[in-house]
Every structure is written in C-alpha cells, then in structure tokens.
Amino acid sequence: MIIIVYCSRGSVFPALLAAISHCSPGLSPGRAWEEAKTWAGANLTTEGEPFVFKPYAQTSPGEIICILKVAFPLPLLKRTLQGLDGLIGNSCSLLPALCRFPCMAGRWRRGWGAGPGKACQREIAALVDRTLLQVELIKRQ
C-alpha cells in the first residue's frame, strides 16, 4: 500500500491542485481550479482550519492520494512522515510530496481567489512528475 500525501502550508489549494493534477493529468488549469474549489466546498468546513488531512482519491488498488494542510513548517512535516514511514513496516509506504514553491509567496498575500498563476502551475506539474517517478521506484522495490 502506498499513501501519497500532497502537503501544503497555510492553504489547502496547492496540495489539492497537485492531487488533481496527479489524478487527471490532462485537465486544463482552469478546470483543475474549478474542481479544486468544488472539492474544497464539499469537503472542508472552512479554509481557516489549521490542520486538514483528507483522502482525495484511490488511483489504483493500494494507492491512496491524500491532501494535507498544516500550519507548521513543511521540512518538519517531511521529517516526521519519513520517520513514521520507517517505523510502520514494509506493508505500507508513506510518500510525502511537499508543495513548497517560491512563486506562492504572492498568492499567500493576495489569496487564491484567482487560481494559481503560470509559475505555480509549472511547479505543481513538476512536483507531480517527481512524485510519479518516486511511486514507480517504490513499486519496483
């Protein structure tokens, strides 16, 4: 079993957009943004929650994609998840994918009302590609 955790800090949208891009690679940025807003409206009570952890989709048997929003620094989160992964045994792999993009700095201030900019879209696509490669590697091992 592989649990892929897309993580972002402060807002759920970067992680959500990455998860959508992972599950529906051909989706246009505009449609992905609409889907993200719809999903958030249906699954989250308020955007202000400091901690959100929700399964987003099951892409194949034994492969679950989750969304995680935290208030604490992402490197700390990564170390904790990697430590947990090492402890829980070989039957389950945790794969943290951190949405930590410099281009988000402006979005933090302006909010996510207009959706992600082009630079963010590129970063999200690159993160998803990297994650898919790591999943491939875990499956081969």
């Binding site: 079993m1 901690f51 952890f53 399964p55 604490f72 490197p75 904790t80 947990l84 039957s91």
Partner: protein
Amino acid sequence: MIIVFQCFGGTHTSVVAASIYLGRLPRTGRPALEQILALPYFDRNDAASVGSLFFDGFDCRGNIVCILGSGGWGSQIRNLLASVLELARDGESVVVPEVAVIDCLPEAGPAVRVGGFISRRLGFTALGRPLVSRGIIGSYPRLLKLVQRFESDPAPFLLK
C-alpha cells in the same frame, strides 16, 4: 507497539523520560548530574532535527522507543500521526503497529525552557547545559510520575 516520547526540541524532557522508561535512570531519588549529561541525546539535537524520530532503544517487551521534537506543534503532529495511521490501518493486508505518544513538554519547568533555549537556540552550550540539566533534576519527580502513569495505563496515550 511504538512508544514515542515527545517534547519541544526532542532533546531534554523527552530524552530523560525515555531513559527513565528504559531503566537508564533511577526510579528512586533523583539522578546525578553526570548521569543526565551522559545520556546520548541529551542537549544534543538542534533545530534542524526537530520533526525527526530518533530511535532510543527497545523496552523489556521488545517495543520500539523513540524520541520526537515537535516544536510548538505537538498537538498538530499527534493529529497528523493519528490520521495517517488510521488511514494505513484501513488498507487490506496492512499491519500497522500501535503508536503511543507521551507528551513531556508540560513537565518542563522554567529552568529547562530557558536553559534549552540558551543552549540549543543561541548555541551557548557552556551556559545553557548546566542550567537545563539542573532544571531537569528539578522536574525529575514529575517526569517519573508521567512515565509511571503511562506504564500503569497506556490507553490514553495511544493514537487512535
């Protein structure tokens, strides 16, 4: 079971509580300053290792004992661990061990907090370490009580 002793930096109260639990420190009376300073993780982890799980040994039942520093986000980290473990347990043919997290931070007195800050954050080990270790000796009865509470009933400490 995996037993995690958690505090702010993962280097003072959690290390001492884990050592009490593992039998490295006495259960009657307070330990000597040298015993505290000789603990392998005591006052040695810095900010870059916060969030990392450090293996500290096996208890008499073969359970893994770890130390975790969580900064000021202890409760969020516990929520995260509980959520991930719950999800992992839902999977077929996945055996996930039980995890108990013992939060040692409330047992840290002012001397431990100030000494830890001076030693680990400001880097003045020569000044901070004696203060934090004396603070730990002061907090020792409370840490011992916490460990005994966990030993007598681990249920409230288990992540569900």
